[in-house]
C-alpha cells in the first residue's frame, strides 16, 4: 500500500517538474493559434513594416511599424540612462559601500523592485510628466522621454542585482593580485574586476532591457499613446505592450483586430524568449 502511495506521489512530482516547460509551450501555442490568423488578411511584410495602425477603420490598416518604433525609441532611451547608472550602482554596492550602508542600499533596490508598475505610472504622471513638459516647453509631457526615464528606473533593480552578483563572483585573488602590484582600488575595479565580470554584467543589461520592452502599465500611462511614427524623443509614442493593453478591451473576439493584437503578443514573446536564453548562456559561461 505504502509503495503504491509513494509511486503515485513520485509520478506527481515528476509531472509537476515539467510544469514550467508545459506552460511556456502552452503560452506560445495559444499566442500562435490566435495570432497567426491575422496573416490570412495581411501579409507578414505589410504587418511588420506598414506605417499605419488604424485597426478600427474600414478596411482596417494593420501596420505595426509605428508601434515597433515607439518601443525601440523608449527602450533605447531607457538603456542609455539605466546602463551606466545601474552598473555604477552595482559597483558601488559590491566594492565601495561599507557593510551597513550596503544592506540599506540593497533594501532600497529591493523596495523599488516591489513597487507595482501601476503605482510608478501614477507617480510618473503626477511628477515626471509636468516636469518634462515645463523643461522642454512642450504642449504635453506625455512623451517618449518621460517613458524612457520611468522605464530606466524600473530596469534598475534587475541590472543592479545581477551585475552585483557578477562582481561578487569574481575570485578575490584577482583583485588582491592587482592591489599587490600597486594598482589603486579604482584601477583594480576598472582594469580587473569589470572585465572579469563582463559576461555577467552583459546578462544583467540584457535582462534589464527585457524588462523594459515587456513593461506595460507605467509606459501606457505616461507615453501619450499616439500610434504614429515618432520623429523625436519629445513626442508622444505608443509601444507594442501598451497597444495590446489599451485596445484588447475593445477588440471583438475573433476579429482581425483581435488577431493582430495576438500577433503583437507573438513578437513580444519571441523577443523576451531570445533575450532570456541569451542572457542565460552568458550567465552559464560565467559559472564555468
Amino acid at each position: 500500500m505504502r509503495k503504491i502511495k509513494e509511486f503515485v506521489i513520485v509520478k506527481l512530482i515528476q509531472v509537476c517538474g515539467l510544469a514550467s516547460i508545459f506552460f511556456v509551450a502552452l503560452i506560445f501555442l495559444f499566442l500562435l493559434k490566435e495570432g497567426l490568423s491575422v496573416f490570412k488578411t495581411v501579409s507578414p511584410f505589410d504587418f511588420s513594416f506598414g506605417k499605419n495602425w488604424y485597426p478600427i477603420s474600414e478596411p482596417a490598416q494593420l501596420g505595426i511599424l509605428p508601434l515597433i518604433s515607439g518601443s525601440l525609441l523608449v527602450t533605447l532611451g531607457a538603456a542609455v540612462i539605466s546602463i551606466p547608472i545601474g552598473v555604477g550602482c552595482a559597483v558601488y554596492i559590491a566594492e565601495i559601500a561599507p557593510l551597513k550602508i550596503k544592506e540599506i542600499l540593497k533594501a532600497g533596490i529591493e523596495l523599488l523592485a516591489a513597487i507595482p508598475s501601476v503605482v510608478l505610472g501614477f507617480i510618473g504622471m503626477i511628477t515626471l510628466v509636468p516636469l518634462v513638459k515645463n523643461i522642454f516647453h512642450l504642449p504635453t509631457g506625455l512623451t517618449a522621454l518621460s517613458g524612457s526615464i520611468m522605464l530606466a528606473f524600473m530596469a534598475m533593480p534587475t541590472i543592479v542585482s545581477i551585475a552585483e552578483d557578477a562582481l561578487y563572483s569574481v575570485p578575490k585573488t584577482y583583485k588582491e593580485g592587482a592591489l599587490a602590484l600597486g594598482a589603486t582600488h579604482w584601477q583594480a575595479i576598472w582594469r580587473v574586476m569589470l572585465p572579469a565580470a563582463s559576461s555577467g554584467i552583459l546578462a544583467a543589461v540584457m535582462l534589464g532591457i527585457g524588462r523594459v520592452i515587456g513593461e506595460t502599465m507605467a509606459v501606457m500611462m505616461i507615453t501619450g499613446n499616439a500610434a504614429v511614427m515618432p520623429n523625436s524623443i519629445l513626442v508622444p509614442v505608443r509601444t507594442l505592450t501598451a497597444t495590446i493593453a489599451a485596445e484588447m478591451g475593445e477588440a471583438v473576439v475573433g476579429s482581425e483586430h483581435y488577431f493582430a493584437l495576438f500577433a503583437i503578443g507573438i513578437i513580444l514573446f519571441i523577443i523576451s524568449f531570445a533575450i532570456n536564453v541569451t542572457a542565460d548562456l552568458f550567465l552559464q559561461k560565467r559559472q564555468q
Partner: protein
C-alpha cells in the same frame, strides 16, 4: 601616483552619485505616497462602495477583489510550484531535461505581463469558456507567479544539508518519507518567503488581469468565482487615467493602500528570511 588617486576619487564620487540617483527617488516616491495618501485613509474609505462614478466613496470591492485573486492564484501556484521545486531539488539529474526545465522557468519569469493577459484571455476566457471571471484571472496570475515560487522553494530545499537526508535514509526511511519528514519541515521558512513574494507580485500586477477579470466599475461584491471583480491595481489605473475629475485624495489613497499591501508582504517575507538565517544551526 597622485593622479591615479585623484582619478579614483572622481570615479568613486560618480559611482556614489549613480547610487543616489536610484535610491533617493525610491525614498521620495514612498514618502510622497505616504504623505498624500495617509490623510485619505479612514474606515469609510476602506469599507465603503465607490460612489458617483468612483469620484466618491470607498474602495472596498477593489480590496476584496484583489484578495480573492491573490488567494486563487496561490491555491493554484503553490502546489504545482512546490512539487516542481521538489522535483528539481530531490529527483532531477544534471541532464538536458533539467537544463530545459531551468530555461523554461527563466523564460516564464521573463514573459511580459501583458502577454500573460493575452494568454489568459485565449485559454481561460475563450477556450475554456470561464468568461471574464475571478477564476480566469486567478489562474493567469497563478501561472505568472509560478517561477517565483519554484525558484525560492528550490533554493530552500537545496539549502537543507545533504547529511540530513543521508541520516534519514540510513535509518531505513524511504526517499519520500525523507522528503516529507526531514527535508520539507526544514525548508518551510524559505518556501513561505517565496509564497509571500509571489502573493505580493500577484497583488500588484495589472496587465494580466486587464482582459481576464477586471471590472471597470462594479459597486458590489463578487458572488462566485465566475463573477467579474474590481481589483486595486486596475482601479488605480482607471481612476488616474480613464475617469476625469477624480479627487486627488482618492487617487493617492488608492495608491497608498496598494503600495502598503505589496510592501507589507515583501517586508514579512524579508523578516522571515532574516530570522531563518539567524536561527539556522547548520
Amino acid at each position: 601616483m597622485k593622479n591615479s588617486y585623484k582619478n579614483q576619487n572622481i570615479a568613486f564620487f560618480l559611482l556614489f552619485l549613480s547610487t543616489l540617483l536610484i535610491v533617493v527617488p525610491v525614498g521620495l516616491i514612498v514618502l510622497v505616497i505616504i504623505q498624500k495618501g495617509l490623510p485619505a485613509i479612514n474606515w469609510q474609505f476602506l469599507s465603503d462602495m465607490p460612489r458617483q462614478g468612483m469620484r466618491a466613496g470607498g474602495i472596498f470591492p477593489a480590496i476584496i477583489g484583489t484578495v480573492y485573486l491573490v488567494v486563487g492564484a496561490i491555491m493554484f501556484a503553490l502546489p504545482i510550484g512546490l512539487l516542481s521545486a521538489i522535483y528539481l531539488s530531490e529527483y532531477s539529474k544534471d541532464d538536458l531535461l533539467t537544463r530545459l526545465i531551468k530555461l523554461a522557468i527563466v523564460n516564464l519569469a521573463g514573459v511580459p505581463s501583458v502577454v500573460y493577459g493575452l494568454f489568459g484571455l485565449a485559454l481561460f476566457v475563450v477556450f475554456f469558456k470561464f468568461g471574464v471571471s475571478i477564476l480566469s484571472g486567478s489562474l493567469t496570475l497563478g501561472i505568472m507567479i509560478l517561477p517565483v515560487i519554484i525558484t525560492t522553494s528550490r533554493e530552500a530545499l537545496e539549502s537543507v544539508p545533504q547529511s540530513f537526508r543521508e541520516v534519514s535514509l540510513s535509518l531505513g526511511a524511504s526517499k519520500w518519507q525523507t522528503i516529507r519528514h526531514i527535508v520539507l519541515p526544514n525548508a518551510i521558512p524559505g518556501i513561505l518567503t517565496g509564497t509571500i513574494l509571489g502573493l505580493g507580485r500577484a497583488a500588484g500586477e495589472t496587465a494580466p488581469i486587464l482582459f481576464t477579470v477586471a471590472a471597470f466599475y462594479l459597486p458590489r461584491l463578487p458572488k462566485s468565482v465566475f463573477d467579474q471583480a474590481m481589483a486595486l491595481p486596475y482601479h488605480l489605473y482607471v481612476i488616474s487615467t480613464q475617469v476625469p475629475n477624480v479627487d486627488e485624495k482618492i487617487r493617492y489613497g488608492t495608491a497608498f493602500v496598494l503600495l502598503t499591501l505589496v510592501l507589507f508582504m515583501n517586508l514579512v517575507a524579508i523578516i522571515i528570511r532574516y530570522k531563518f538565517r539567524k536561527k539556522k544551526k547548520w
